[in-house]
Structure formats: C-alpha cells, structure tokens
C-alpha cells in the first residue's frame, strides 16, 4: 500500500471534478421545477446532499467539510425549517394557516403557483442539510467504535 492519502484514487478525483457540479445542477433543477415536473423539494434536497457526499467519498472529509461544514449544515437545516413554518404563517395574513396568498400566475410558468415554490425551496434546504449532517455523523465520525478498539 502506498502512503495513505485522503480520498480515493486519481481517476475518481478527476471524474468527480466533472460530475459533482452536474449532479448539483440537476438537484437545483429538480427543486425549482418542483411545481411543473416530477420531483420537488425532498428529491432535490437528497440529490444535492448526494453531491456533497460524492465530494466526501472522493476527496476525504477535510476538503468537503471546508466547502460545507457541519455547523453550516445545522444552521441551514434550521433555517429551512423556520422558512417552511414562516411560509405557513404567512397564510394567516389572508385568513388561515398555509393559505396560498401569493399571486398564482399562469400554469406552466416557472414563477407560478404562489407559495409552492417557496415551500419547495424551504424543504430542499432542510432535507439536503439534514441528510448531509446525518451522513457526516454516521459515516465519518464513528467515535464510539474507535474508542472501543483503542481500549482493548
């Protein structure tokens, strides 16, 4: 074995540099077109979390966590949850919870259907950051197991 280097081999790193931005872009497309095409906030959020996980697997956790750290992930997740709740409370201005008070626009337009776009973006922030932080916690940290092996 060669000297231990973070991440995988050179081939994987090269290809990751090309593909990771495409995966990210596809996630953004799925989120923003959630009210027009299949998909939506949840699927798009998981795809974007997968693009960051791709970075972690290929380059090791230091480089990936420099781009999107754990504290940033928990902050983003909380912001997404608050944004979703805020969109729901916005409906109280017009009468009741989750009322679609924004202008609806024309069907098949990108900026249409009122609060659905905002809800999609909020769920995307929440799901993407939440699942990424679960991945970091479960796959990278592994604290209890290493402790047990050292104590033996």
């Amino acid at each position: 074995m060669k000297a231990k280097e973070a991440g995988m081999s050179l081939i994987v790193k090269r290809i990751t540099k090309i593909t990771v931005s495409l995966i990210f872009l596809f996630g953004v497309y799925i989120v923003l077109h959630g009210h027009l095409t299949p998909g939506g906030g949840f699927a798009g959020g998981v795809i974007i979390a997968l693009s960051f996980i791709h970075l972690v697997l290929a380059f090791g956790k230091e480089i990936a966590l420099k781009k999107f750290s754990e504290s940033a992930a928990s902050l983003t997740e909380s912001l997404g949850g608050l944004m979703f709740l805020g969109v729901g409370l916005l409906g109280l201005l017009g009468g009741y919870f989750f009322l679609n008070i924004l202008p609806h626009g024309k069907t098949f337009d990108l900026f249409s259907s009122g609060i659905i776009v905002l809800c999609n973006i909020a769920i995307f922030l929440k799901v993407g950051a939440g699942l990424f932080s679960i991945f970091i916690a479960m796959a990278i940290l592994k604290i209890p197991l290493e402790d047990n092996q050292e104590n033996k």
Partner: protein, 172 residues
C-alpha cells in the same frame, strides 16, 4: 400487469436473500436490489415523483450502510434453533396468509373508485393553484399542514442522530 408481479417476485427473492445471507456487504447489495425494484414498480404504476424520491433515498441509504458497515467486520452468528420453531413459523404463516386472503378479496379493484376527496383535488388542483405538477399542489398547498408535520419528523430524527453520535460532551 404481469411485469408488476414479476418485479414483485424478484423483490421478495431479494428480501429473503438479504435476510439469510451471511456476508453483510452482500446483504446490503440485495437490499439495494429490492429498492431498485420498488423504483421500477413506481414507474410502472405511473408515479414518477415517488420513483425519483425512492431512487435517491435508496442510493443515499446504500452509501450510508456500506460506509458504516464495510470497515466493521461483523459475521453473522449461527445459532441452533429448536426444530419445533419451524413448525410454529409455518403455522403462523398459514394463518397469516388465510387472513390476508380473506381481507384482500374484500378490497375494491385496483385504483377503481375515485374517492370523493381525491376527485375534488384532481378536478381543481390546476385551477386553484395553477401548478402543473398535481402532486406538488396537493402536498404543499392543500395538505401543507401534513407536510409541516413530516418536516418536523425529519428535523427531530436529525437531532436524535446528532445527539447520539455527537463528538463533544461525551463521557469517557
């Protein structure tokens, strides 16, 4: 309809393999095959929203399971079981199949009567929300309160995982 049953049969085989095989990594791969079969089923039933979500969640859970288990060398333990348990299990399966047959024949045909609420949603979703994707219109506009509950469940589960696997404040 025949391809639906074929994929369902393959999924059952995959699930049994995932339960019975000894190697942990092979078990995870078999579980992935079950998930991909479920994705194809959703596509055949014309539910692309669910298919996309199922596909990406399946990939994410496969990555987490492989990453979490591949370095841990756990071998499944062989335990001797009482031969009578096999007979009890067969008996239980027979009773279960009989009751589920009795229940399933009472069900209406697949997707046949459109419920009153669902019919209202399908008729008015495009007009009331002007969203082309009717699933988004239902889960984020008509049923936004339910989706808020789901988001809360996800939030709580993330908090739980981070609290169990935390780095700081752990007693040595």
């Amino acid at each position: 309809m025949i391809e639906l049953h074929l994929i369902l049969f393959l999924m059952i085989i995959g699930a049994v393999v995932a339960m019975e095989i000894e190697d942990l990594l092979s078990s995870i791969i078999a579980l992935g095959a079950v998930g991909m079969g479920l994705t194809l089923e959703f596509l055949l039933l014309r539910a692309p929203d669910l298919a996309i979500t199922q596909l990406v969640v399946e990939i994410l859970s496969l990555i987490i399971l492989i990453k979490a288990t591949v370095s841990v060398d756990i071998q499944a333990k062989k335990t001797r079981t009482n031969p009578y348990y096999f007979i009890f299990a067969l008996l239980f399966v027979a009773v279960f199949l009989w009751f589920s047959y009795k229940a399933v024949v009472q069900l209406p045909a697949f997707g046949q009567p459109l419920m009153k609420m669902g019919g209202q949603y399908i008729a008015e979703a495009a007009k009331k929300t002007s969203a082309a994707n009717i699933v988004a219109a239902i889960i984020l506009d008509f049923r936004g309160y339910d989706t808020l509950g789901e988001a809360t469940i996800l939030f709580t589960s993330v908090i739980g995982v981070l609290a169990v696997l935390r780095k700081t404040g752990r007693k040595k």
